[in-house]
Symmetry: C2
Subunit: 204 residues, 2 copies
DNA sequence: TTTTTTTGGTGAAAAATTTCACAAAAATCA
DNA sequence: TGATTTTTGTGAAATTTTTCACCAAAAAAA
């Protein structure tokens, strides 16, 4: 199947939202409710789901737990995935213990930093290493995804290193867009740009 | 002018990238170079800029410093804007001292948390307050933007409070989409969803 | 000076995405 | 039972966004 990025992004959000609904014990959810929680329309939600061949029940909506299961398997969000964080400054070390990742099946299994000093000072139950041991650690632990929290100046270099070690997914928190090989998926989260966007939308 | 969100987002990224170019001392930049740094095409960059009435120089490209200035004024990214952070856990307190914000004209002038205990323990040069004093502090300091770093369960409540205090822009790091009044601009940054997106794109 | 090359500007075409409209199915109600 | 309501599924229409094609201008080269 050939889903657009927009569709994938929405489906992932639906998946996340279903987790929340599940906790409330509600059994069915309509496309309109999902749309509301997403800031989309019910048409879009139904179309997105139908692109995956997922169908609901007339006059009832979609069954929460089976929808979650289907999305999980169709989008491959079901299994556990291992990730590492490179750059253990304030943000990086905050993310080391970000519980939401674990809850969602993303396991942070290693942190890397250049500074041995920093590695020694850090307090976390996750194992941390000097960047030099990246290759070994990534191979050994089977790490698939890398989270970049180094300053912009070093982001590309870290991305190269990560992909060189076989990492196929990159979440980049630095403000520079990193370029990666074709097969690698990279997403940028630039906080400052988000504030700029808000400021621009606000005008005045 | 009526720019699409995509266009606004790209223009903001261009603005950020121009800062980096400026430091290198390069005077002109072509639409193709900008496109490369953005992961867009040169057509798109030129069209985006032309939508703002910004024009470059034949065979030279755009003059870096004046382009930055024009974007800054047209998108209202030039002035300083005050923001606050609500929720001073790991992430929130990391963001309190995120230097990039300050560099870009976004001043974090207050942090809020429910727990007085946390407020006492926190080490930062930015003033922190109990949530109860939000209204006063926001009015007094002229805070325009709020950054939400509380758990999802409380995100909507915090958003309501912020908008109730007159905040018009919200950057929401919690995994739940908050709903805000029409005039308010809100952007969600859901880390977990970014990882999901990467996982879904990777497949396998 | 003339030609060639590079780069922007932009209306038109193409592609992608979203919305609509309405049939079909199931639950509810009279 | 039969009418009514609600909600999905989806092809078609509408809208939005991106890309293309080509001109003009200016710099560089010849």
């Amino acid at each position: 199947m050939d889903l657009s990025n927009n569709t994938i992004e929405r489906l992932c959000r639906i998946f996340g939202h279903l987790g929340a609904i599940e906790k409330t014990g509600v059994e069915f959810v309509s496309s309109a409710e999902l749309a509301g929680a997403l800031g989309a329309t019910s048409y879009t939600v139904r179309k997105d789901l139908s692109l995956l061949g997922i169908t609901g029940f007339t006059r009832k909506g979609y069954e929460v737990s089976s929808l979650k299961k289907e999305l999980g398997s169709k989008l491959r969000l079901a299994g556990r995935r291992k990730a590492c964080i490179v750059g253990l400054g304030r943000l990086g070390s905050a993310l080391l213990d970000y519980e939401k990742f674990q809850e969602d099946g993303f396991e942070i299994v290693a942190g890397f930093d250049r500074s041995v000093n920093k590695l020694e000072r850090i307090r976390t139950h996750i194992e941390v290493y000097p960047v030099g041991s990246m290759k070994d650690v990534i191979k050994e632990k089977g790490i698939e995804m890398g989270i970049i929290t180094v300053p912009g100046e070093h982001a590309q270099e870290v991305a190269d290193r990560l992909t060189g070690c076989g990492v196929r997914g990159i979440l980049n928190f630095s403000p520079v867009e990193v370029s990666v090989p074709d097969k690698v998926v990279s997403v940028n989260m630039d906080f400052t740009n988000a504030l700029r966007f808000i400021a621009a939308k606000l005008g005045g």
